[in-house]
């Protein structure tokens, strides 16, 4: 199998396909032209920047640079997870950041010790650690934002039920448990759904990339299976920690529900 490097011209031709989106937007009056332009430019600029950063880090291969980049990625994931939520409470940023760290780094650690042995990656750690971290973070942040969104939404709309339970002698955990469980379930559903259809409906991007790069399909599939389980574990850990940390913030030790600390941020 061979690997073909794309030329700038190849990439330009593909980028011109954005004109299809633009034409549809114009024809139907969708008003998306401006956003399409921004999205297209961001796609190119962000990925080119990433390319330069990765090139530099792969070249440097110093563990501090690799860890630094992964910390920055984690921080961005923690912030993005909260930015996607509609309701916030004091401490939600720290909760999200902690949840990202507690899940993605643990899962990556397991992957780079138990699954892919250090002997394999020690010569080029960045080549393994960074793509794996990126895959785990992208999905974990999705789970965290869905979980936090559902938790704060349900606790707000069903405040009377939470308080009814407390009034009847429930502990804060007994009062919140159904809502905490729903929130964690909501955060975990997308990854379960994609595990259900992977290979049937969707061809995962990483596997596609490996095959394009000349890997044996079976080898690519093995990596993809590993990735799916890493993502699932990361999402489960991240969502659960974020929702539980949120619960701790929203119920005090006197078993009071601090409904007033949840604020809506978007109309």
């Amino acid at each position: 199998m061979s690997y073909h490097d794309l030329s700038t011209l190849d990439v330009t031709v593909a980028a011109l396909l954005i004109l299809v989106n633009g034409a549809i937007s114009l024809a139907l009056g969708l008003g998306l032209e401006r956003r399409l332009l921004i999205a297209a430019v961001r796609t190119v600029v962000q990925l080119l920047l990433l390319g330069y950063v990765l090139k530099w880090i792969f070249g440097a291969s110093h563990w501090l640079a690799i860890v630094g980049l992964m910390l920055a990625m984690s921080a961005i994931a923690g912030v993005s997870a909260v930015r996607r939520t509609e309701r916030r409470y004091p401490g939600v940023w720290l909760n999200s950041m902690t949840a990202v760290m507690a899940s993605a780094w643990v899962v990556l650690g397991v992957a780079l010790t138990g699954v892919i042995s250090p002997a394999v990656w020690s010569s080029s750690p960045a080549q393994y650690a960074i793509p794996l971290m990126g895959m785990i973070l992208g999905n974990t942040l999705n789970g965290i934002s869905l979980g936090l969104d559902r938790l704060t939404e349900e606790l707000t709309s069903r405040r009377a039920e939470v308080e009814m339970r407390l009034c009847l002698g429930a502990t804060r955990w007994e009062a919140a448990k159904p809502f905490v469980a729903n929130a964690i379930r909501t955060g975990m559903v997308p990854i379960i759904n994609s595990m259900m259809v992977v290979g049937l409906v969707s061809l995962p991007g990483m596997m596609t990339g490996q095959i394009l790069a000349g890997a044996e399909p079976m080898a690519a599939v093995r990596y993809q299976i590993v990735i799916m389980f890493l993502i699932a574990a990361g999402t489960a850990l991240g969502t659960t920690s974020a929702v539980l940390l949120g619960y701790r913030r929203l119920f005090n030790r006197r078993h009071q529900f601090l409904a007033g600390s949840i604020r809506k941020v978007r109309a």
């Binding site: 039920e161 009034c167 009847l168 002698g169 429930a170 502990t171 007994e174 006197r254 529900f257």
Partner: protein
């Protein structure tokens, strides 16, 4: 501060709650409920009646004050137990999905009441007093009228045999006949045990007169007047 009176069951001293914008929600409210006493709480809307019940149920974080049950202060860990003894029934009754029976069984899934279970015979006799059959237990909570929900919420609290019931307009969604039935059920509940007390918010002064040994009037976050019985 004064120590609680010898027969005082629930004693609140200078409860104070200030909203984030600085508005006083409870302005140093003191209140004592004695055993076998029914107290009515009246006052214009927004005077703080519901907030006082919520404070007594320890639902909100207060800015000051002291609360005792049977002379004991309440530790943070002791709050669920306290709430199993001092039960606040919200004005807008909240029921969970499922049947009336599921709703009545809900509290027994909590640790505070785990030692007991739903006593259907007892419920049946209470329902009879309200002119309802046992089949009422199989009704779906979402199909109930506002008045029926109010009855379920009340029965759900009464069956737990708390020392104190805090009722927020318990007959507001009921027709007059059912209101009277609920009133006599409440009187009967008080008579069953001499160590119970009841604080009932009502807009109906006639109801306050029928039920209460003592009437407390609130206005602008304070208790302004106490009529009947000992102060």
């Amino acid at each position: 501060m004064t120590t609680s009176e010898p027969h005082s069951l629930l004693h609140a001293e200078r409860l104070r709650r200030v909203a984030e914008d600085g508005i006083l929600l409870l302005d140093g409210v003191s209140l004592s409920l004695s055993a076998s006493e029914t107290v009515a709480l009246i006052g214009p809307p927004g005077s703080g009646k519901t907030l006082l019940l919520r404070a007594l149920a320890m639902l909100d974080a207060l800015n000051g004050g002291d609360l005792r049950l049977g002379g004991d202060v309440i530790t943070p860990e002791g709050v669920p137990h306290y709430r199993s003894q001092v039960i606040y029934v919200q004005q807008r009754s909240t029921l969970i999905e499922g049947t009336v029976r599921d709703n009545l069984a809900l509290p027994f899934s909590f640790n505070s009441h785990a030692a007991r279970s739903l006593d259907e015979d007892r419920i049946a006799s209470r329902l009879k007093g309200l002119g309802r059959e046992l089949a009422f237990l199989d009704r779906t909570s979402t199909d109930l009228s506002g008045g029926e929900s109010q009855i379920v919420a009340l029965l759900r609290a009464m069956q737990l045999n708390p020392a104190v019931l805090l009722l927020d307009e318990p007959t507001s969604s009921l027709d007059q006949q059912t209101s009277f039935q609920v009133e006599s059920l409440l009187c009967q509940w008080m008579q069953e045990d001499g160590n119970r007390a009841m604080l009932i918010v009502t807009h109906d002064e006639a109801q306050a007169g029928r039920l209460a040994d003592r009437i407390i009037r609130m206005d602008r976050a304070q208790i302004v007047d106490i009529a009947g019985g000992q102060p």
